[in-house]
Subunit: 329 residues, 2 copies
Amino acid sequence: MVRILTKDNVSELLNMADALEYVEEAYKQLTLGNALVPQRIAITDPAPGLTLIMPGIIGGEMSALATKIVSVYKKNPELYNIPTVLAKIMVQDINTGDIVGIMDGSLITAMRTGAATGVSVKFLARKDSNTMSIYSAGVQARKQVSGVFYGLNQKLEKCKVYDLKKDTAESFKTEIEKELGIDVEIMSSGEDLLSNTDIIVAATTSTTPIFAGEKVLEGTHISSIGAHAPEARELDSTTIKRASLLIAGLKEACLAEAGDYIIPINEGIISKDAIISIGDIITGKKNSRTSDTEITVFKSVGISAQDVAVGKLVYDRALQEGVGQDIDF
Amino acid sequence: MVRILTKDNVSELLNMADALEYVEEAYKQLTLGNALVPQRIAITDPAPGLTLIMPGIIGGEMSALATKIVSVYKKNPELYNIPTVLAKIMVQDINTGDIVGIMDGSLITAMRTGAATGVSVKFLARKDSNTMSIYSAGVQARKQVSGVFYGLNQKLEKCKVYDLKKDTAESFKTEIEKELGIDVEIMSSGEDLLSNTDIIVAATTSTTPIFAGEKVLEGTHISSIGAHAPEARELDSTTIKRASLLIAGLKEACLAEAGDYIIPINEGIISKDAIISIGDIITGKKNSRTSDTEITVFKSVGISAQDVAVGKLVYDRALQEGVGQDIDF
């Protein structure tokens, strides 16, 4: 039997508090050597878009095995009126190999990315944090705020946002204020996001730095989830240089894909050794911040372990709550 | 909309004549550079079995993009009374990236492997061939006979079979005689398969040579689809040495996985250059046999392009014939 879960089913079953817990566990198992993230496969030519095949396995109590197939076709909205990014996740029974769950992967992708930032906030931000700023007000950004909210144990009170599109910022404000009951302030420039804030989230499509590192206040925690190519970055070298902790979702993945770290390494500003996987902080192998004046940076590029963990979560909840439909293949 | 196709649906939609045509086209597009078979991903620890993730893309008229997820868990029959090998194929729309079909992959795997042998027979066996021999009478072997039957344009008249299990050989005979209307003779030893035959198919689980190459008759075409690890093989070095043509489903895949070719190469009996992809024969880049006395060898290890082609075939037929059920994810 295969449990089929539509976008609506996933939306009904998934909440950020759970996602955060599962993503934290995935990072932990990666550090413990009980999880595996194989190099993903990218397929393009002769297709007009990109498909990424992202399998992964997480041992321990979670025992999750799944593959996400995600496609990025930039002309989809214009040509077919469908989203650029489409994704599905196939969950296998780790004990038999059988595919037992197939689910829409769009919301899961946004939620696990928000959860990654949430985990970073939980382990790296100042304990008294209650304000945040976010660059971009798009779909990904909304789940980022949710991630921060639960990463701070629902103590987030205020979010400042800046987006080039005024409409997007307005609908962001309406949605977030309703969903999380926090105060959202729309700012008129990116620079306005740097003051009076405990946490900065960068969730843009920019490939060049979006703020000047020298203006970041002491004690700030920064999470960057945009730019994910060796030559692209959201954070400048000054930000990286000023930070006391340079944390990665997964060190190996960031050293392969994250210009935010790769460019300063190539410039000789930091060494590779300075980059630490967040699993090392979660397991206590490495220390987190030791003062309220340090700047901490978290950079994550999507890795399959996040999807595998949240896919397993959704599948487990579906069985518990009797949601979705079964197909006998 | 995603078209869901169960094992029964696939069985209703798929026939060997079509499968052969699609697999031939896949091999052709590979040689033309319009198809891509990325290195598959293998996942094991901490799972108790193996999962292979096999995506591929084929351009040209076929325009197929799909991924097979296949698991091999040897203890499944004993522990859970389910098959060792389980597979599903996810078919994407090459123009949008969207997953539009999800189908059972077990029959497709057996059929595409039979079709590969069928294509080899079509291009490499003597034109007057009408008899074959097959080592093993298992599930894979049955589709091999079907592949040979259609590869010979339904001119196959007789099949000799040898299997250690008498019961399996008996049910093979009953099934094949009924399905293909040919004469099946059960032999009492493997050596009996070598005489009075035009085509030899090796479809065993053996990891060491199953017959002595010096006993193979001139003019025979051999297809080996068993052994698929660098140190395992069904064919001995004498067979390889005597053959005038050493053909691979895909040269690169055989050089990575097929001991039948790798071992003689390492022994210095043949050079890598002697191995030719069947696509080179199909497209006419290289010549096929030029006499009725040559021994020809075809070795194939499973490659995703075969699954992608046959998966697309099944999906297209399902839409044409209104088979399966649609899920709105």
